[in-house]
């Protein structure tokens, strides 16, 4: 169904972003903008969420909204991701009110880049043209690097450079794959790629080359093993609000990866494609959980926890079954929210203490009770403890694996269950241990003067904790938005 709403979802934040940018060169506008900088960001993200929510009734009625002139489409395959991305940006922009204290970018430039980042995420989710996806991927790289470099600490520039080089090289693989597809098929529309006979469809090896390039290219942007080198440096180097905004990135990138790889799997259902997706996923799960266990820096721990979660999501998507797609989407959206809850809680801790080193912290529950409560709820949901939403996500993932593995024998399904439960238990152990290290025990002398946490610093994470309970008890609320493409 033709609709301008998908286009409007991009135009509204663009308009507000340009308005913010417009105030930058004019010195006489700066004092005025200083007074409304946080509100203008909330206006941009809030208006975007409102437009996304306007499209939800159509999605629930299983209608597809399309703006063909710009190759944008919203349906049940990306609606949950759109809502999640828009909601994450609004919630984090509330957190931003107290958390953002200024950095290398002026406030107007900061707002511009945050909104541009949101536009990239939404664009990536809706685009179905290869070149449009490529443009959003390249733009995301530039914008996210600027946001990392914004943090006024030494580590930021070094980490941003590392991030830039790794992701820019990976973007070359995406560029190579997109050009190969376009040159050999004559189309850049993903939905048309497999419809006609062309040199690409006649050569399984070229198709594998394209798929591998997409996995390397987008895998590095997501932070999948073995392309994850930037993640453990970028998390501690970024400001807490930027870490919150970054929670939206995997939602867009993993769904984009699925969107790019699936058409080739549909034409050529090779076990190699399956093996690439599942292999990278499994490697990420194992590396993530092992590395996270030994971290003493809370943000590095969360970086590896994220890598582990991305691995599990890729396991679900990489099986290319309808249940796998639903499980992957649910895990992806829920995981992004819960990770955001944990990161915002850690951001509130950093705001008061100025450190992420868990060995220096302790006893903060006495002075930061709401933050401690939200942290443990979100962390337990990340670990998959029932009845929180993370448990349902892991349960769906197990069902997906069971569906695929059961024909090979009960032992295969049981082995998958044992591995998944073991991974969840290890992540549960280190997340609870982090709670103990940060919030329990005696309160250090240094932290006795910590004042009450402002509402804006704990309310966003508290909403996420509430969501963990609601989605755990009624997962259908989110599942209704999802469908197999």
């Amino acid at each position: 169904m033709f609709s301008l709403l998908p286009l409007l979802t991009l135009i509204v934040p663009t308009f507000i972003a340009v308005l913010c940018l417009f105030t930058n060169p004019f010195w006489f506008l700066k004092p005025f903008f200083k007074r409304i900088e946080k509100e203008s960001l909330m206006l941009g993200t809030g208006a975007t969420l409102a437009i996304v929510l306007l499209m939800v009734p159509d999605v629930l009625a299983e209608r597809t909204l399309e703006t063909p002139i710009l190759f944008l489409r919203l349906d049940q395959s990306n609606a949950a991701g759109m809502v999640a991305v828009a909601a994450i940006f609004l919630v984090v922009s509330v957190f931003n009110i107290h958390s953002e204290k200024g950095g290398r970018l002026s406030p107007s430039m900061y707002n511009f880049f945050v909104l541009l980042f949101e536009i990239c995420m939404l664009g990536l989710l809706m685009a179905y043209d290869l070149f449009l996806i490529l443009i959003f991927v390249e733009l995301t790289i530039g914008v996210s690097i600027v946001l990392v470099a914004h943090a006024p600490i030494k580590l930021a520039s070094e980490s941003a450079f590392k991030y830039l080089i790794l992701t820019a090289v990976s973007a070359l693989f995406v560029l190579f794959a997109v050009l190969l597809v376009y040159i050999l098929t004559g189309t850049s529309d993903i939905t048309n790629i497999g419809r006609e006979v062309n040199p690409l469809m006649e050569s399984p090896r070229l198709m594998l080359l394209v798929v591998a390039s997409f996995i390397i290219g987008l895998g590095a942007d997501i932070g999948l093993v073995p392309f994850h080198g930037w993640a453990p440096d970028v998390f501690p180097a970024s400001t807490p609000a930027v870490n919150g905004f970054f929670c939206a990135e995997p939602v867009a990138f993993i769904l984009a990866l699925y969107k790019l790889v699936y058409p080739f799997y549909a034409v050529y259902p090779s076990p190699i494609i399956l093996g690439l997706m599942v292999g990278v996923g499994a490697l990420s799960v194992l590396t993530g959980v092992v590395m996270a266990y030994s971290q003493t820096d809370s943000l590095r721990m969360m970086a590896y926890t994220s890598i582990e979660a991305f691995g599990q999501i890729l396991l679900a998507f990489g099986l290319f079954t309808p249940l796998g797609f639903m499980a992957g989407q649910f895990y992806l959206v829920n995981g992004a929210f819960m990770k955001m809850g944990v990161l915002l809680s850690l951001g509130a801790v950093y705001h008061h203490t100025g450190t992420n080193d868990m060995e220096q912290l302790g006893g903060l529950v006495k002075v930061m009770r709401p933050v401690a409560v939200t942290y443990i709820f979100c962390a337990l949901s990340v670990a998959g403890v029932p009845p929180l939403s993370g448990f349902f996500a892991k349960w769906l993932l197990y069902n997906t694996l069971n569906e695929v593995l059961l024909p090979y024998g009960l032992w295969a399904s049981a082995a998958a269950l044992i591995v998944l439960v073991s991974v969840s238990m290890v992540s549960g152990v280190y997340l609870v241990r982090s709670f103990q290290a940060i919030f329990l025990g005696p309160l250090g002398e240094k932290w006795k003067d910590v004042k009450d946490t402002p509402l804006a610093l704990w309310l966003p994470a508290a909403l996420v904790a509430l969501l963990a309970v609601v989605l755990g008890l009624a997962p259908g609320l989110l599942l209704r938005l999802m469908g197999y493409p």
């Binding site: 790289i141 470099a149 030494k154 830039l164 090289v169």
Partner: protein, 214 residues
Amino acid sequence: MELLVLLALLISVTATLAGSLSRSTKQTIQYMSLQAAAIGFVELMYVFINLVSGLHIEALVKFFAVFAEWFSAAAVSPLVIYWGMAKTEDFVDRPQMSAAGLAVFLAVLVLAHLGLEFLYSRYLPTQIEATFFISLMFTLSMFLMATRKDPFKILVGLNMAENALYPLLARSPINVMPFMLVLIVFVNVVAVFIVIEAYRDYQTLDLSRWRLTP
């Protein structure tokens, strides 16, 4: 493959090799510019001949698109990096290979050429016959990026790897080109901004000393 195209590709490969081995940042930037100029020259001449012989609006648009792409790779991006170098220092170093660097280089080299072997064993469509040269230039650029401690040389390596894809990039739709060019320049500007900021913090362009400096 036409002789002129082959010649241009050989010059580009030579410039990439020279760039990956040169010692000063300034020289590396110059070789990068030469690589981009050579690799885009043939396509530029084709569209120029089309423009002169046809004199129609479509040929004019195509000429401007290709010229912009060529100019951006051969002049704008090198100048952006050169500006960054001028703001900091012309770092002189030699390719240094640690065990990890050597492993990365060998892995890329082996993978790239296994990939080629893999493709050639059946057939390679004529549209992508320059893949061998692309792979070679990409590998040399990776070598440059893996063996240097100077962030500007690493950035030049990134641009050289991007330029290596030019034979394919030239076939992309005209309406996409302006966005691609703006994005490439944008990423370069952001990278130079970050390096200058890091140089202010650490007072050196030696990447190995960035985290060690208190």
